[in-house]
Amino acid sequence: MRRLEVDGIPAVLAPVTGPAHAGLVFRVGTADEPLARRGITRLVEHLVTDGLDPAGRTSWTTGPEHTWFHVQGSPTEITEFLTGVCEGLRNPPADRLAEVRELVQGARPERDPLPMWRHGARGFGVVSYPEWALPGLTEAHLREWISRWFTRENAALWVAGDEVPEGLRLDLPAGVRQAPPAAARTLPLTPAWFTGGVGWDTVIARGPEAAVFANVLERRVHRDLRDLTAQTRTEYVPRSDGTARILIVAEALPEQSEAALGGLVDVLAAVRAGQIDPDEVASVVKLTGEGLRESESRGARLPGQAFNLLAGREVQTLEEALAEVRAVTAADVARVAVEAYDAGLLMTPPGSTAEWAGYTAAPAMSDTVPAGRVHRGRRDRALRLISGAEGVGVTGHGVVAAVRWDSCAALLSWPDGGRHLIGEDAVTVRVEPTMYRGADRVVREVDARIPERLRIEMPARDRDRIPQPEPASGAGTGRLYATAILCGVLALFLLGGGLWILVQSLAGPGTGNPRGEDVLALAGSLVFGVMLGRHGWTAGRELGSRRS
């Protein structure tokens, strides 16, 4: 493997046994996209390759941290494709934007809900969200994005072949090398759980021990969940910041999701308890070694080495990589297993929890709402929308959600006035003017407080998609009416009776002093009258609030 430079771009080159191929990678991915720009990298990637008519086998991909353009073919084909990509980045075909956007919108990336719970609505967590921003992205947005991320300093090249193809020109604008995305964390406690499907992920220190552990875990999960799942998938994703993510997704068979969860819990508990079979570790180490050799011969290790260059790491020779993997022992794997378990985030099927297995519920709500002006819910006085100097929040029916003005990741805005604020911690506050009294004022405040760059204009909603207050149930209303009227009449009767006693005893023919029994009757009618009056008043108010 050779280190070289092509037009100022660092490159790795290694001869291969099969067909030649090459790739150009940029240090940009979904983890770099603000939520209000989610999807922009993929759009760029598709736009700049759109006009090309490549002869070789080509592909382009946006990952969490890297975006790369890959081509397999003759030196001419490689040169044509990569040079074309660079030209596209210099001069994006803006006239094709609408069509390419449609294409990109049509091919939605697979949803991965775990990162949002771990990282919030920023950095690595953004990948969990839909690409809401796509329809609103303009040529200006794309040019700005390209000039920051798709630069000579932020690129690396790999070539699997004997030489760099003659005539390969990578004409990219100058820029700066971008640091790895910060791994923001919103999970206060791990191991944690949330409800979604059946899955698990963890973030640990990257390295050969972690990679071997991921393989051991994959085999174990496959073995133990085979009868309960249609398929299981395990991924080991090293990150530039020196960590790695391990992901398990289990697609449970119908009616088996609880068992799949139980099986996964048991596998994780077993590896954490040190139940690591040394023979299994040995065979994984052996297979990993064989895989590395095979990858080397195909040039499949080169992309990883190019990623390393972008992260400021040195390239690693096959011998170094093999030596590292061979040194991994069952004890190393057991140590990683404890680290992985402790940092774990478990996804449980709907209706299931994981408190019983020792996992803490991942926070789905805010602790408090900011102080401010309260808008009560229409027909539902328990609902409250609060808007204040710090931020906005909603409470009611066990839900507490708040977003501070200064930590809003994105604002979704509908033409009907609906506004959803998504906080950096992934908590969403839904400001729906249909649901709260006088909420138009809050909508105006939200629009004034949230900067334009965080705003996403959403397409108009159908009428039935706009939330409406729950209609008050007829029976409940009837009972309230009856209560209000009965209590009111009785209260009037008692208070009137009391008054009559008072008048009688004062104006009566007696001594002029009220008699004892009169005083008692007077006090009684006053007390009961006031009690019933209050009761009727409460029922009346409730009726009033339901009508509004």
Partner: protein, 318 residues
């Protein structure tokens, strides 16, 4: 004429039939863990599981067992005992049999206790994946914590891989399969039938057929004696019970190992309820002075109820 059976109440204490319980209790009492292990390790798998299920109420038992586990987190016997103890504490009911019965309403404190037990058992099963006592306990927690029928089935399969004829676990799993009143009883009866058919001749397994019928009778028809009698007197039920008894308590290979009293007592109650007097009488005779709480507590105070039925089937009552 005097009735054949003595009128005095049967001895319902399991320790009367199984002396190892006393041995284990003494060892726990004196905080002698090696002695406890000696008793448990010398026991056959079913006996060992049954021993961990005895509701020992020794003061300081939890502290003692936690101490043992701190010293050796991999001690499956200590984990099983502690798990069962925590489950029993969660239910706060004195007898083992009743402690495991699913109550429709579960107070929050009970769930907390079961969660504590289950967390311990998750780790215990991870360290001792082939310990049937631990998997039996995890069937109790799966039901108590409502972890789902498929999860209970998974746990039962894990256990059946270790021991396909482990009656204590089969009984727990049968409880899981029993529906709420008005539900579908076929899964419970099917499991009982299949288990009985797969059980070796003269073993305890076929008692599950009787257990399933008694649960069915109790949950659906207990409040209507007429319907209850009709249910049990059905020809198929009667034939199924006889067949099960022939494969178990009436078989020449039936041995008086740990659990035999409850098995015999369960058949006795089933036959007593369907008024098969000779069948019930022969089983009462086998039991002699011994008896079991389960399943007689369905009918009231077990001691008194057994005396009543014993008299009746022996011809002393109506």
């Amino acid at each position: 004429m005097l009735p054949a059976m003595p009128p005095r109440q049967p001895d319902l204490d399991p320790a009367a039939a199984y002396p190892r319980i006393t041995g284990l209790r003494d060892a726990l009492d004196s905080g002698d863990w090696p002695a406890c292990r000696a008793v448990l390790d010398a026991s056959a798998p079913v006996e060992r599981t049954e021993l961990t299920m005895v509701p020992f109420a020794e003061p300081g038992l939890e502290t003692f067992l936690r101490g043992v586990l701190d010293g050796d987190p991999g001690d499956g016997a200590a984990a099983a005992l502690l798990g069962r103890h925590l489950i029993g504490t969660a239910w706060r009911v004195p007898t083992g049999a009743r402690a495991e019965r699913g109550a429709p309403r579960r107070p929050a404190g009970r769930t907390d206790g079961l969660v504590t037990a289950e967390r311990l058992l998750v780790d215990a099963a991870a360290r001792s994946p082939r310990d049937p006592a631990i998997w039996t306990a995890r069937l109790v927690t799966a039901r108590g914590l409502r972890l789902g029928r498929s999860e209970a089935a998974r746990r039962y399969r894990r256990l059946a891989e270790i021991d396909p004829h482990h009656l204590p676990a089969q009984w727990q799993y049968l409880q899981q399969l029993c529906p709420e009143p008005g539900g579908d009883w076929e899964p419970a009866h099917a499991f009982a039938r299949e288990t009985a058919e797969a059980a070796p001749p003269g073993s305890f397994g076929p008692v599950l057929v009787a257990e399933a019928h008694l649960e069915h009778w109790n949950r659906e028809h207990h409040r209507q004696p007429g319907a209850g009698r009709r249910y049990l007197a059905d020809d198929r039920v009667r034939a199924g019970l006889h067949e099960a008894a022939r494969r178990s308590v009436w078989h020449a290979d039936f041995r008086h190992t740990h659990g035999w009293v409850r098995v015999t007592s369960t058949f006795a109650m089933a036959f007593a309820l369907l008024d098969d007097r000779p069948a019930a009488d022969s089983l009462f005779t086998t039991l002699g002075d011994l008896g079991s709480d389960h399943p007689w507590y369905h009918l009231g105070d077990p001691g008194a109820v057994i005396v009543k039925y014993r008299k009746r089937v022996a011809g002393g009552g109506t």
